[in-house]
Symmetry: C2
Subunit: 210 residues, 2 copies
């Protein structure tokens, strides 16, 4: 549950609704029934109704959902009406790939700075953003009103850097390091554990072989 | 539920157990009680016991879990006693980062080939693996006994390529494209939707501000 009593599972499904509604909008679909949306998304219509009811419903009996309206409302719920200012820490291959993932940029997630502990990487330009030394982290976060840090550092460094980020007032950490971070409750962390995800795939393949 | 009646949520938690047990093993811890593991992993001891009971238990009353034994057993359950042969399709920034993520390689996930539809990328070497044209996909999968495809192509191409992969006999797709794939039930897909994950972070930050 989050602070509003919305189950975590519902929150985790919201971006998927947002993605499907965005596709429908791009295809100029004006309205859709929960039944049709259910076929498209391969979840039950009743789950869709229940999920969206947590946010006030939006559907009208006999009409269905207004695609553009629902898309806009979910975008506000997801905080996309506000701009986010990001830094990335760890300018390795994965970090560089994320900086170059400009899709985030066009949707209100602006990468303002890149940091790396390796002096050899400092001064390097990635998509014209310079890699800065860790000594400048605190002042950079403060001066640029950074709210999100993307963490693409090795596991061994992640916990220590996360402690610094919390101390320097970061609000959210998008963590790609292969470890869980222990941060205070007012700091949000979302993990992308790529190896865990690959193991999930491996498990399912193995299980179907038997 | 999977084919053995194990709930999906349990399966999704297995890689995390595996990660913590690997860390304990690396730190030469020989055994651990479900209570201590529960403090470490910040889940209840009863959930740990219930989860591991799906696979036969492994714990002994008054002794706890033998770390190395449990690690080895979970590694087998996850299919890590078998080697996987992978191809990657889409040699963009993210694809290149994943090919360079050698940690997978050392753990039995060998990237054998890289494909891209862009003729300009063909012939390029990424970690000494050449980028091949899509025309060679079918024969390459067959000749190299490829079981997993990593899909790092744009959304617009992903569905079409997934259909080819299924036709050519791939067993699992690790999908980074920002769309869901509709594949037959005997083909496994695991999605890494990075933007969905970033939206989850944005939602939680937004929700705490209000």
């Amino acid at each position: 549950m989050d602070g509003k009593g919305i189950p975590r599972a519902v929150i985790e499904r919201l971006p998927r609704y947002f993605r499907y509604l965005g596709d429908l909008r791009d295809n100029h679909v004006e309205r859709i029934s929960s039944q049709d949306l259910s076929v498209l998304m391969q979840v039950t219509a009743s789950q869709i109704r229940q999920d969206l009811n947590h946010f006030g419903g939006f559907g009208q009996q006999g009409y269905g959902y207004n695609v553009n309206f629902l898309y806009t409302e979910i975008s506000k719920i997801l905080g996309l009406d506000k701009k986010h200012r990001l830094i990335l820490i760890g300018a390795g291959n994965l970090g560089q790939a994320l900086v170059n993932y400009v899709t985030f940029e066009t949707r209100g997630f602006n990468i303002r700075g890149i940091f790396d502990i390796d002096p050899k990487k400092q001064g390097l330009l990635i998509r014209n953003i310079p890699v800065l030394p860790m000594e400048e982290l605190q002042s950079f976060i403060r001066d640029n009103d950074i709210d999100i840090a993307v963490l693409t550092v090795p596991k061994s460094e992640a916990v220590g850097i996360a402690e610094l980020l919390v101390k320097y007032g970061i609000r959210g950490i998008w963590n790609f390091a292969h470890t869980d971070l222990n941060v205070p409750k007012d700091v949000v962390t979302v993990n992308v554990h790529l190896y865990d995800s690959l193991l999930n795939l491996s498990y399912q393949i193995n299980e179907r072989e038997e």
